[in-house]
Amino acid sequence: MAWQWFYRMGSPRWFYEKTGRWIPWLAAITAVLLVGGALWGLGFAPADAKQGNSYRIIYIHVPASFLALAGYYVMAVAGAIGLIWKMKLADMVMKSAAPIGAVLTFTALFTGAVWGKPTWGTWWVWDARITSMLVLLFLYLGVIALQNAYQHQATADKASAILALVGTVNIPIIYKSVDWWYTLHQPATLKLTSASTIHPSMLYPLLIMIAGFYCFYALALMLYTRAEIVQRERRTQWVNELVEAEK
């Protein structure tokens, strides 16, 4: 009984039907948070005393970086569930998490580089945090490549899951890189265990953007997984009915 929810969640059909109802609401919440947060951050938060207006990039850079890392956990945990319990939906989620994570990691790196130019005077340095984020991008790209490298889907899923799990070693390195090797990238602005080093007038829009990015991540993951479900479940009666409904 206790495990019933776990098995039900593992059903692609259940996931497809439930998320079909959740997506419009989630999309509306995401749009409100992202538009509101971006407007606040761009026009209403005060300029930084030292960095001027370039710091407004923080409202994209930090949420994108958060989700690039959190998304890796999603991919690795889904990969582990797929490997251990052979749950079909977990494999689909793992595959879906890869392109989303890759785009968000690229966004974090790009916005970091653009922010670096007016702040540090350079687009790129081989700093520990930046380099470990680049490795994260390659891990995501590796999973995408492995997914396309095999004819047999089960083999592709197994290989991708193993790469995703091995790659988790990079995650604590990214988190701690700013403390272990204090080179150029600044230490964390937001801290769970102590006070954040950012003024509330700048913090609130950042928290809204982070919440917006989390909602967006969930939305994108649902959309990608649904597209994957209809392809992998094409032989089932319920997907055939969906195809029929396309007429």
């Binding site: 026009g43 209403f44 207006n53 370039s54 990039i57 994209i60 653009v114 959309l223 990608y224 597209a227």
Partner: protein, 70 residues
């Protein structure tokens, strides 16, 4: 407490010289968010349409076969 930090929209655009950096990032974010929502939706829709076309084609082939057999 919350007030608009710029004297005009032109100042917001210029951001005292930081405009190109800031707007490039917000532009990329917008493109990334659109890409990540549009790609799976298009893939989903196209796949169902493709399956529908295959189904129709198979039905036509079957019908043609049964005509020949008659």
């Amino acid at each position: 407490m919350i007030e608009f930090q710029f004297a005009s929209l032109a100042e917001l655009w210029a951001m005292k010289g930081h405009g190109p950096y800031v707007w490039a990032c917000y532009g990329l974010m917008t493109a990334a968010l659109i890409y990540l929502t549009d790609t799976p939706r298009r893939r989903h829709r196209n796949y169902l349409k493709q399956q529908q076309r295959i189904k129709v084609a198979n039905e036509q082939i079957r019908a043609a076969h049964s005509e020949v057999e008659k």
